[in-house]
Structure formats: C-alpha cells, structure tokens
C-alpha cells in the first residue's frame, strides 16, 4: 500500500513536471506548426542557470528560478530570430534537422561550459522536509512540484481563455492567415508565445531537476518524452497535454518502481502503443 501511494505521488509529480515543460512546446507547435526537437534543451539551460545561481553564487531558490526563466528567454530570443524564423512553414525534415542541430550545439556547449557531471539545484530548507498528510508523509518537494503544475495549468487556462491575448492566440492557432487578415499581429503572437513556452520549459527544468536530473544529455534523453506528450495530447490542447503527462508519468514511474531492470523498455513500448492507438492524439484533432 505504501508503494502504491509512493508511486502515485511520484507519478503525479513526474507528470506535472512533464506538463510544465511540454505545454509550451504543445502551444507553439499548434501555433507555428514547427516540429521543435530542441525544446528540452531550453529546459536544460534553465536547470543549468538555476544550478549556477543557487550553488555557485549562493543565491536563494526563488531568485535562482527567476534568473533561470529570464536568462533562458534571453538566450532563446536570438536563437528564435536567427534560426527558427528560417524554418517556419518549411518541410518537416528541414525543421527536424535544424532543431536537432540546435539541440546538439546546446548539448556540446553545456558540456564544454559545465562539464559532463550531474548538476544539483539546492532547494530551500522548507522543501526538503517531509510533510505529514495525517495518514502518510510525503516529500514537500513533490507537493511543491505538483502545486507548480496545477498553477501553470490554471494560469495558462486563464491566459488563453480569458485574456485578450489569449483570443488572438487561439485565433492564430485555428487559422493564422485569417487572424492576420483580421488585424492580429501574428508575428507578435508568435514571439510572445515562443518566449512563454521557453520560459515555462526553463521553469519546469528547474523545479523538476530532482526528477529529471540536469546533465548535458538531458536534451536528448527526454526529447522523445516531451514530443510524445505533444503528439499524444494533441498540439495546442491543454487538457490533452495534461492527460498525456499524467498517463506517461504514471507508466514511467510504475515501470521504474516495479521493474527497474527493464530501464525505459516499458515506457517506450507504451509510447508506441499509445501513438499506435491514437495516431492523431487523444484529442483526435488531425495535425
């Protein structure tokens, strides 16, 4: 029973981390129709910045998180301007190549700057203590991660459904040409969404660092995980992404607990099975 409970909490926390990191990818893919394999690399950059700020500079956790988000966005802006702009509307293969190229570069640079070792992000005292729920104790960090995931989901929902920008965003996702004709500055919508997506990735990379450890191959190791969330959940769909994250988090965590010797075997098997059953995503929207 204890195991089931632990698996449940870990799965929920893991799913939430996946959600925070991937939701930006999902929205930008729905919006710009770009197959972006480098998204995980931005989460990794966030993790590195936070680790550097908290461990080497001795700054507080909250400050480190802020720095990571802002810093990653600042790094991403020129990348978007110089490289991503060139592949909007290009064939899928071109997008794959460009974004894999970006991923490889970021991995190589991270390896050069920070070395191949694992980087930790010291968390504040309060997050390290176990929290009693009355009948069970849980790691405060897990609860914090779950809370972050819920906050992001709610915040995004509000942002997309209830704000003027959200209206423009949804219009652009549905039909960019039409939105542009109606006076929506799609370039601005793209730029803001890209920045938000990258910022969320960095945020997820930092708060999830205990579950997805920061090291140079992070961007490759979890590439398929983030992509599968989008393709299973359906690009641009928040509920779809949330469902996909919880499902995949559950499968991966259960596999690790019960059959660690199989590594990620069951995870990839599940990925294939899910995409096989829902080739157009859980939400069922084509492309």
């Amino acid at each position: 029973m204890q195991t089931v409970f632990s698996i449940g909490v870990d799965a929920l926390a893991y799913g939430m981390v996946l959600f925070v990191i991937s939701i930006g990818l999902s929205v930008t893919m729905g919006l710009m129709r770009v197959v972006n394999l480098a998204h995980g690399a931005f989460a990794m950059i966030g993790g590195y910045i936070a680790s550097y700020a908290a461990r080497d500079l001795g700054l507080g956790y909250a400050v480190a998180v802020m720095l990571a988000v802002v810093g990653t966005i600042l790094i991403a802006i020129p990348v978007e301007r110089l490289l991503y702009r060139r592949i909007y509307g290009q064939p899928e293969l071109t997008q794959v190549l460009m974004t894999i190229g970006i991923t490889f570069c970021i991995i190589g640079i991270a390896n050069y700057v920070f070395g191949p070792t694992l980087k930790t992000i010291p968390t504040p005292e309060a997050l390290r203590e176990p929290v009693s729920l009355g009948f069970r104790t849980v790691s405060a960090h897990r609860l914090f991660v779950i809370g972050c995931g819920l906050a992001v989901a709610l915040g995004l929902w509000y942002f997309i459904e209830r704000t003027a920008f959200g209206v423009k965003l949804r219009a652009s996702v549905d039909n960019a040409a039409m939105a542009a004709a109606l006076g929506v500055k799609t370039q601005v919508v793209y730029a803001v969404s890209f920045a938000v997506a990258v910022g969320l990735a960095a945020f997820g990379g930092v708060v999830g660092a205990e579950l997805l450890p920061i090291e140079p191959y992070y961007a490759l190791r979890y590439m398929v995980t983030f992509l599968v969330v989008v393709s299973v959940g359906g690009a641009g769909s928040i509920p779809g992404a949330l469902a996909a994250c919880l499902l995949l988090g559950g499968i991966d965590t259960t596999g690790r607990y019960l059959m660690p010797e199989f590594g990620e075997f069951f995870f990839y098997l599940a990925v294939i099975a899910i995409v096989w059953l829902f080739p157009r995503g859980l939400a069922g929207r084509a492309k």
């Binding site: 893919m29 197959v35 490289l83 060139r86 592949i87 899928e92 293969l93 071109t94 794959v96 190549l97 460009m98 894999i100 190229g101 970006i102 991923t103 490889f104 570069c105 970021i106 991995i107 190589g108 640079i109 390896n111 050069y112 490759l220 590439m223 398929v224 992509l227 599968v228 989008v230 393709s231 299973v232 690009a235 010797e261 199989f262 590594g263 990620e264 075997f265 990839y268 098997l269 990925v271 294939i272 995409v275 096989w276 080739p279 157009r280 995503g281 492309k287």
Partner: protein, 335 residues
Amino acid sequence: MALLANSDTISTAGDRRARLTRDAIGVLVILVLAAVGYFLFPNNLALLTRIIAIALLVLSLDLVTGYCGVATLGHAALFGAGAYGAGIAAAHFGITDPIAMLAVGIVAGALAGLVSGVVVLRAHGLPQLVLSIAIVHLAHEAANKASGWTGGSDGLAGIMPDAVFGLWQFDLWGRTAYVFGIVLLLVAFVILRQIVRSPFGMLCRGIKQDPVRVRAMGASVHGTLIKMYAISGAVAGAGGALNAISTQVVGLDSLSFTMSAEALVMLVLGGTGSLYGALIGTISFLWFEDVVSAANPFHWLTIVGALLIAVVLFAPKGLYGSFAAYLERRGRKGR
C-alpha cells in the same frame, strides 16, 4: 509518324545508354576511391570499412527519407538488427561463414524494416517522428536487457567469421574485410540504382510528391511504402552485418538514437534522393569526424550541430544536390 516513332526509339535507347553510362561512371568512381583509400591509408582500413558499413545505412535511409519522404530518427534500429542478427548467428549458433552471416543480417534487417515500417507508417507528421524515435530506444533497451543474447552494454563478442569462400581469411590489417565491404557496397549500389529507377521507384517518388494523386491512380501508398521499408531494412541490415563481420563485435551504440540522427545528418549533408548524395555525405561526415574528434572529442557534438544548421541554411540540397543543380544550370546556359 514513322519518323517520329523512329526518333523516339532512338532517343529511348540513347537515354538508356546515357543512364547506364552514368551508373558505370558511378561504379568506376567507387572503385577508384576504394583503390585510392586502400593504398593511401593501409593502416586505416578498419575506418574505411566502417565508412562502408555506415554508407549502407545512409543509402538505406535515403530509400525511405529521400525517395519516399518519410522522416525517421530511428533508422539505426534496422542497422542494429542486421549487426546483432549476424553477430548472434555467429556467436550463439556457430554460423560463421561470412556470406551466411551477411544473409542472416540482411534478413534480420528486412524483418526489422518491415516491423518499423508497419509501426512508423501508422501515423503522420510529429507522431510519426515520435514513433520512429521510440522504436530505436525500445530496440536499444531490449538489447540492453537481453544481455544473455546480446552481451548487453559490454557488447557482443566472440564473433569469429570464417574465410570468405574458404579462401580469404579475415586478417589483422582488415584487408579482406575492406574488399568484402567494397564488393558488398558495389552490389548494393547497382541493385538500388536499378530499383529507384524502376516503376516501383517511380511510384515511391510519386508518393513523396503527392500521395493523394498516387491513390487516385489506384496504387496503394501504404503497401508500397512498407515494401520500400523492408528493402531499406535489408540494405541497412547488410551494413550492420558488415560491421559485425569486420569488427567482430557488436555494441549497443549500433542501436542508438545518436546513430540514427547522425545517419540523417550524413544523408542531408550529401543530399537526399540520389544515392550518390548518401555516399558523399557518409564519406565527408565520417572523414570529418575522424579529423575533428582526433583534435578534440568534446566539441564533436557542437560541430555536428553547427554543420546541420549550416546545411539547412546554406545548402538545403546537400553537397551532391547543390553540385548537380549547378551543373544543370550551366548545362542549360550552354544550350
């Protein structure tokens, strides 16, 4: 009318001769390069043989990506299937005749191609890409877990191929393996040139350009692609088997995502959809890797990434494609 028909048959025969000549030149160039490599780098034949094995993988990738337009990041699974197929046949079943090992590798590759084709072609776009990545990861994890058969992360050792036709023993310098590889590459190349030019190859190119039109002609898109995937698997499997035979060991890296991605990089670097591009891309990439990683192994990934970005931005047709386009432009001006 008679005159017209006459001139037509002449032009058809002429066309055919021109194309055969071009293929003959291709074969000749490969032979010359092979001889040059043999005499210039007698101590580096192992690297040259590895280039040949990878070239088969990249050729095989060109079949599905370049000719059929299916983007995949999991093609190493087919190469690895061939390598492990040949390796396991030798190490566990005593099938040590190199031709038989090659045959096992080809069959294993074709089967892996068939399976991944069925899986990958289930979806389109991003989900398709995800499936292809998941396949190579799954194969990797499976090979890692089944260490009794595959040697796991230590690699599969104990592969001792016999002499080729009982005459040519595999030597320490890798001369036999090199010649074996060159012959294999030539045979594969000639067969593939034939296939891509055949009605079947034309159908594949059609699918890449407009699958709806292909269906409207009454042809099966899915069936054709699956067939091509199996052929592609056979070629990649041959490459894997060659690698197993020449290095006498099979490692998990032959089933890796990185290998799949690098194969794609090599293909795009050389240029898709011509087979020549696949060869040129493989040679340039692996030669470059050898030079650069000897200088600084840590920067290798950065350089590959930068190379990819540069190709996408500045030479989207690849080395061979850009060269061919240049020739075509000049030829037209000349006319």
